[in-house]
């Protein structure tokens, strides 16, 4: 069986950034496994710009952004295989890969999970109605249009205001479709403010907050949807139903980290993130298996995916050199106003970056990190939106050796 120091599952922004950083740390025996025909992951279909402002200080398209990493991977001579799908991963870090050249098995010393996420579907939401053609997840529609030169429809309704849905509202409009409206069940948008501005407002596409598609109509191709206003319980308010005709329904209703392989390896998932529980080194509960990027928690910007994967490289490199990492026994917990936090466990002996999202839009506020009475850090924020990830450094010298860490939001 082939042996590797590092196997990286997924050649998207997380996998590529981890590979480059590991190589810089003189870890040479790396294999990136990518199921598509090229490296780049989901960025290949993200032909709009706005990527790279944080990581590179300039705005790039998705393919340009990923190409910077691909070029580095190639320059550094990092091994990768494409058109290769990992079909099994064990807790002992044996990776089984289906390729056209055969079934490849690799014994890895460390595995980096960088599989990204998938879209929540109509079925998962159990939207009532019939099951005609013309219902697409936003990412699938994006793939058809940008990678397969295939137009999915003409009269479009978008359900959900996730970023990909907003981007697709603009993309479909530019390609001559009529995007009639975007309906968001929550009282605030799920996508970034800049996308609301640039993708909806600039094209006069109406966004209806607190509205949901409650029925899909049509027996062959979709013919329309019934929409209703929802109350604070997110349930439709009787009497507010309206019918909209359309030939296409685009769903942008959330992303789910893709962790089937993580589960196969025995990683324990966090119900809130749907990604693995990790420590400050991004190590899962399975020693030597690390996770970063959207497979760990859904990010708002790809720049943060790359930065997180780069941060992961330090721990992974140390694990390879020493064979173990410092025990991380201090749990990190949140109050009800914070959706989730990464990492969920720390050692207390090392500075680390904390990532989180608030559950509801909040005005001027501060985030406090505490161990009981002891205040570790207080971060003031002008505002906090669920669409935006909040990140900051936490210094080890402020952390007590014992006691769980709690993260809370206080509105001013």
């Amino acid at each position: 069986m082939e042996q590797r120091d590092v196997v990286i599952i997924g050649g998207g922004p997380a996998g590529l950034a981890a590979a480059v950083k590991l190589k810089e740390k003189e870890i040479n025996d790396i294999l990136i496994i990518e199921r598509e025909r090229q490296l780049g992951g989901i960025l290949r279909q993200c032909i709009h710009d706005g990527f790279g402002l944080t990581r590179f200080g300039e705005t790039l398209s998705g393919p340009e952004y990923s190409q910077r990493f691909i070029d580095e991977v190639e320059t550094l001579g990092i091994d990768f295989i494409t058109n290769a799908t990992v079909i099994d991963l064990t807790g002992d870090k044996i990776v089984t890969v289906a390729t056209r050249d055969g079934l490849l098995q690799v014994q890895a010393k460390t595995v980096i999970l960088a599989m990204g996420c998938r879209e929540r579907t109509r079925g998962a939401l159990a939207i009532p109605g019939t099951r005609p053609s013309g219902i697409y997840n936003a990412g699938v529609a994006q793939s058809y249009i940008n990678l397969f030169n295939t137009m999915v429809g003409k009269e479009v309704i978008i359900m959900g205001s996730g970023d990909i849905g907003l981007i697709m509202a603009r993309r479909l409009t530019l390609e001559g479709a009529h995007v009639k409206a975007v309906f968001e069940v929550l009282p605030y948008p799920s996508g970034l403010p800049r996308n609301i501005e640039q993708c909806l407002h600039d094209y006069d596409i109406p966004l209806y907050l607190s509205h949901s598609v409650i029925e899909i109509k049509g027996n062959e191709r979709i013919e329309g949807v019934r929409v209703a206003e929802v109350g604070t319980d997110l349930k439709p308010i009787p009497g507010t139903e309206k019918d909209f005709s359309c030939d296409t329904l685009i769903l942008s209703v959330g992303l789910i980290p893709e962790n089937e392989l993580s589960l196969a390896a025995g990683a324990v998932l966090d119900e809130r993130t749907k990604g693995a529980f990790v420590d400050e080194n991004f190590q899962t509960n399975v020693p030597g298996i690390f996770a970063a990027g959207n497979v760990l928690h859904v990010h708002d910007l790809v720049d943060f995916v790359s930065l997180e994967a780069e941060a992961l490289a330090e721990g992974a490199a140390q694990y390879l050199k020493r064979g173990y990492l410092e025990a991380c026994d201090i749990p990190v917990e949140t109050d009800a106003k914070i959706g989730h936090v990464i990492p969920q466990r720390i050692s207390g002996k090392k500075n680390f970056r904390m990532s989180m999202r608030v559950r509801k839009p909040t005005g001027k506020c501060r985030i406090e990190v505490r161990q009981g009475e002891h205040l570790i850090k207080s971060v003031p924020l002008p505002k906090a939106l669920p669409a935006e990830m909040i990140q900051f450094e936490v210094e080890a010298d402020q952390i007590l050796p014992n006691g769980k860490i709690e993260v809370s939001v206080y509105e001013k």
């Binding site: 199921r35 058109n83 799908t85 079909i87 089984t96 289906a98 390729t99 056209r100 050249d101 055969g102 079934l103 998938r118 879209e119 579907t121 109509r122 079925g123 998962a124 939401l125 159990a126 009532p128 109605g129 019939t130 099951r131 005609p132 053609s133 013309g134 997840n137 990412g139 699938v140 793939s143 058809y144 249009i145 990678l147 397969f148 030169n149 295939t150 137009m151 999915v152 429809g153 003409k154 390609e175 001559g176 409650i214 029925e215 109509k217 027996n219 062959e220 191709r221 439709p236 030939d247 089937e260």
Partner: protein, 484 residues
């Protein structure tokens, strides 16, 4: 199409396809006329996928007789047609004295019918059979089983085609008359056809064909049932179908059924809809499924939902009693050379081949049939990469590198399988057709990953334009064309 056919079978569901397969044992020119673009698009594809035992039906009914016969022979059928199937048994669970009384009645019916191996069991025995099932007591029905209705119907149809039967899709029959020779003249969406015999296996529409043929009017009194499909992650917690005790009218509330592929079906709900056909899922029933279903099986949770579907069951009223009619397989002196098959609802899937044999017996009452010496009852299904062991996987990829390319990652379906499905011998070219043959798009991402690959391959392999790719129906186009 003007060629004269010996037997026209109207309807390519499981019954029509079973009739086609059984009739292909004889030297006949047979054609199946199906209004949809694939087999198994009506009742046959919208049910629970259960191999019924016969316990649920009254003695001396044709449906009981057919069901018992079909159940008993299914090992052989599954082997001949290469259809995955598992005789996993079934539990009908109950709580409290009232339910015990009803279950005992049902048990007695099962004993009278001669359902093999049934037993009343207690709570401890239930837990031994499946620790995730709750009940104070239950009837254990070991002869019940599970199968995929799509795979089974496709297998019957493919075996029929291998033995010379022709399938015409998008071929709704809109009128039936007789020509001067006394043969049937069929008006179809694909033009006029002439047939000596007509077999009505039209399922939900059998009542219409029955009237066209001259068998008289049957009043549909349909039941709509909604279902939820759960992720395989929930499937590993359920080893056999679990039903609640039937209500005082003998109807079953929501039950949970593992599928042969490892998912779980929750449902059906029961709603009487009269003459209508309505495949729309409703918010109220989705809530009922969640509420009732989670009482039966604690993993009925939104996190595990991957899809829902709706079945409409083709119950008809008995013209005399106005009760739900038994299966009816009839000939009529005033309608020579026709067999009318109506009222085939549950357990139609289990009963399909027994029904087919009874249809043929009716034909043979008025016509001698010559054996087809070349008939081969064996049909091989598609190679399923995901179900092979490592050694076999290696061998498959070495033989054909397309097995090394995973198209559908949720169900681990390879390009080789999708390609084989695109070139299926029934000539079905829809995206759903590929889905039912391979399970691609049936997983938790619902085609998010593989659908682009499937539609690309259909274009490449069959030379179709983007606008010509259909989901499942003539107007169910997937795309409006190229990006400008």
């Amino acid at each position: 199409m003007s060629a004269k056919i010996d037997v026209a079978i109207i309807g390519g569901g499981v019954v029509g396809s079973a009739v086609a397969r059984e009739l292909s044992r004889f030297r006949l020119n047979i054609c199946v006329l199906e209004k949809e673009l694939d087999v198994c698009n009506g009742v046959s594809g919208r049910n629970t996928g259960l191999l019924h035992s016969g316990i649920l039906n009254k003695k001396n009914m044709l449906r009981t007789e057919c069901c018992m016969e079909g159940n008993k022979e299914f090992e052989q059928v599954a082997q001949e047609l290469d259809v995955p199937f598992r005789r996993c048994g079934k539990l009908i669970v109950g709580f409290g004295e009232e339910e015990r009384g009803r279950l005992e009645k049902l048990y007695k019916q099962g004993m009278e019918n001669g359902v093999p191996g049934i037993r009343m069991i207690n709570a401890a025995e239930i837990k031994r059979l499946d620790p995730n099932v709750d009940g104070e007591f239950a009837i254990h029905v070991p002869s019940a089983g599970i199968l995929c209705p799509f795979t089974y119907t496709i297998a019957l149809a493919e075996n029929a085609v291998q033995n010379g039967v022709k399938y015409c899709f998008d071929c709704e029959v809109t009128g039936i008359s007789r020509n001067e020779q006394g043969d049937f003249s069929l008006e179809t969406k694909q033009g006029k056809m002439t047939a000596r015999w007509v077999i009505n296996c039209a399922g939900l529409y059998a009542y219409k064909i029955s009237e066209m043929l001259g068998f008289g009017k049957y009043q549909p009194s349909r039941v709509k049932g909604e279902y939820e499909i759960l992720d395989k992650k929930a499937g590993k917690y359920l080893s056999l179908p679990v039903y609640p005790t039937p209500n005082e009218y003998g109807a079953f509330d929501i039950h949970v059924t593992p599928t042969i592929d490892g998912n779980v079906l929750v449902g059906p709900t029961i709603e009487h809809i009269g003459e209508g056909i309505d495949y729309a899922a409703t918010q109220s029933m989705i809530e009922v499924l969640e509420k009732q279903g989670s009482k039966m099986f604690r993993y009925v949770k939104r996190d595990y939902y991957i899809r829902n579907y709706v079945g409409v069951f083709p119950t008809v009223e008995d013209p005399e009693t106005h009760e739900e009619m038994d299966f009816r397989i009839e000939t009529k002196e005033s309608v020579p050379c026709a067999v009318n098959v109506v009222g085939i609802n549950s357990p139609g899937l289990t009963s399909a081949l027994p029904i087919a044999r009874r249809v043929i017996a009716k034909i043979r009452q008025s016509e001698a049939l010559t054996m087809n010496e070349k008939f081969n009852p064996v049909r091989r299904g598609m190679v399923k990469f995901s179900q092979k062991n490592e050694e076999e996987k290696r061998r498959l990829i070495a033989q054909n590198p397309d097995y090394g390319e995973i198209y559908c990652r949720c169900e681990c379906v390879t390009k080789a399988e999708v390609k084989a499905a695109v070139h299926n011998i029934l000539g079905v070219t829809t995206v759903s057709g590929i889905k039912y043959r391979t399970r691609a798009t049936m997983g938790r991402c619902q085609g998010g990953y593989c659908e682009t690959r499937l539609t690309q391959l259909i274009q490449q392999e069959l030379g179709k334009k983007k606008e010509e790719i259909l989901l499942n129906k003539p107007e169910a186009y997937m795309f409006t064309g190229e990006v400008k």
